[in-house]
């Protein structure tokens, strides 16, 4: 017995497990060496607390009431962009998802190509594409919808493909055993099985897209984001407050709604088994 070692980990040698230590040390070293890049400065952080408080204090103002109708219009535009982009992406993603699923694709080369295409599409955030599309087609909601739909196809296609890959192959065999064609097998054997999960995915993506749509206005791609930045830059706190509150409300509402719906679908699916 070594008297020096009073505390031990529940491992053979009494030391913490190597992989855990190695990953913690790696992260700490990475953080320490990048602290200057990120300009971490605790004095500055603490000093900013006063500013944060005074900023929060500024928010306690009477909202500018006559701005509200305009705000509602912009918020509606944000929601409309979300829905339109998701709907367009849905139509495009369904066939792409089939092509990118290992068990449904006509050929492995197609599978690889579509997979890579999808991962390219979702690699860059909406805002980058919005920047590009704004300089291509001009300001307004159109580039916003295009950017949202573009990135969403990347995510949705991948999720769909993954859902199709885990369906029950026996049911598919049941359909193809009766002489159904290539397309018929996919329509009647595969899609019905994947449908409940698809609905969950669409709700999740709708949620994500709404969050993204609220900030697209930053680069002039429509929605509430433009007003948000302007009121921030011009210190119009009587506008900033209702904007922030309305974003919070709409995002939270959809978040709860999609949570509920997904839970219902999951439980519904379990009940059937």
């Amino acid at each position: 017995m070594t008297p020096t070692l009073i505390w031990r980990c529940p491992t053979r040698n009494g030391l913490p497990p190597l992989p855990a230590v190695a990953s913690v040390v790696t992260v700490l070293v990475a953080m320490w060496s990048t602290a200057s890049l990120v300009e971490v400065d605790f004095a500055r952080l603490i000093g900013s607390l006063g500013k944060m408080v005074s900023f929060a204090g500024n928010m306690f103002v009477m909202p500018e009431w006559k701005y509200l109708p305009h705000l509602l219009g912009k918020m509606l535009e944000t929601i409309e962009m979300t829905f339109l982009a998701t709907a367009i992406a849905l139509v495009v993603s369904l066939p792409l998802g089939l092509l990118a699923a290992r068990n449904a694709t006509p050929h492995l080369i197609v599978y690889r190509l579509v997979r890579d295409l999808l991962s390219l599409m979702r690699a860059l955030p909406e805002l980058v594409w919005a920047l590009v599309f704004v300089s291509a087609v001009g300001l307004g909601p159109l580039p916003g919808v295009m950017a949202l739909a573009f990135v969403t196809v990347g995510f949705m296609g991948k999720f769909f493909a993954e859902t199709i890959e885990v369906i029950d192959q026996k049911q598919v065999e049941g359909v193809s055993a009766h002489g159904a064609g290539w397309f018929q097998v996919r329509m009647f054997g595969m899609l019905p099985q994947a449908l409940p999960d698809f609905v969950g995915t669409v709700m999740y993506i709708l949620d994500h897209n709404l969050r993204a749509a609220t900030v697209l206005g930053l680069v002039g791609a429509g929605g509430i984001g433009y007003d948000l930045v302007m009121s921030m830059r011009l210190f119009q706190y009587d506008r900033l407050l209702p904007i922030a509150v309305s974003i919070y409300l709409v995002v939270t509402l959809l978040d709860r709604l999609s949570d509920q719906l997904r839970r219902r679908i999951i439980h519904g699916a379990k009940a059937k088994i």
Partner: protein
């Protein structure tokens, strides 16, 4: 001397079901008691009352002379080990770590944050594992073990607490006959050699008769029999296993004739 005493305890669940309908009983120190009864008789609830996993609706539970309350819950639990039907091990942790969780009540939460234990804890855990004959499996992950082995880890965890009492809730219901036999012998031996009071819930009459000092029969929330295994007659078995609203239960007679 009784180590646990229950005074006119009742338990009503939020859904309105009354699991315990007024029970008063004492458990003698160092005894081996089996609670016998059909499913839904309230055996589990009674056992969980003794560990504070459930609280009484009315009446009180006293363990080692102290009345169970929110303030001494942790202290009481550290003195009362519990063994579960489904073992309730943390599957991703090693066997040793699972056993060491039995020492948690004696350690501050700060050490627990970093999974640190004292040498003496490790020794206690090793001793407990040796006791249940699993020293060679110490570093395996808990979910890699068979059911009987997992239950022995569960008993080792209870032993590592250095408890005054071990409560076992249907410890053999998920095991095959051979493992069941081993687990019951182990519990009996712990009772005899370490002087630890053991209370076991069972639904197998033969195991109860062979291992118990005392049998408490329960039916729908009440004690309907309390005595030695020798006093357990076919007639009393009928009252224990009596089902409501069935006058001549031929299935029951048939089942009991094999018991």
């Amino acid at each position: 001397m009784s180590i646990i005493s229950i005074k006119s305890a009742t338990k009503r669940f939020p859904n309105g079901f009354e699991a315990i309908k007024g029970i008063s009983t004492e458990i003698a120190t160092g005894s081996f008691t089996v609670i016998l009864g059909p499913s839904g008789a309230g055996k589990s609830t009674l056992l969980r009352l003794m560990n504070g996993l459930e609280t009484t609706t009315s009446g009180s539970v006293h363990v080692t002379g102290e009345t169970l309350s929110k303030s001494n819950l942790r202290k009481t639990r550290s003195r009362v080990g519990m063994v579960f039907q489904q073992f309730n091990l943390v599957e991703r942790l090693s066997v040793v770590t699972n056993v060491l969780t039995g020492r948690l009540a004696h350690r501050s939460w700060l050490g627990s944050l970093f999974y640190l234990f004292r040498n003496e804890d490790i020794e206690i855990a090793q001793e407990a594992l040796a006791r249940v004959g699993l020293t060679d499996k110490a570093w395996s992950r808990a979910d890699k073990l068979s059911g009987g082995q997992q239950q022995r880890v569960g008993i080792a965890r209870a032993l590592a607490q250095r408890p005054k009492v071990i409560l076992a809730d249907e410890p053999v219901a998920s095991l095959d006959p051979v493992s069941s036999e081993e687990i019951m012998m182990l519990l009996r031996e712990i009772c005899d050699r370490d002087g630890i009071t053991v209370v076991v819930n069972l639904h197998q009459v033969d195991l109860a008769k062979r291992f118990a000092d005392r049998i408490i029969g329960m039916n729908s929330g009440r004690v309907v029999f309390d005595g030695t295994p020798a006093e357990l007659s076919p007639l009393t078995l009928q009252t224990i296993y009596k089902r409501d609203e069935i006058e001549n239960d031929t299935n029951l007679d048939l089942a009991l004739s094999y018991a």
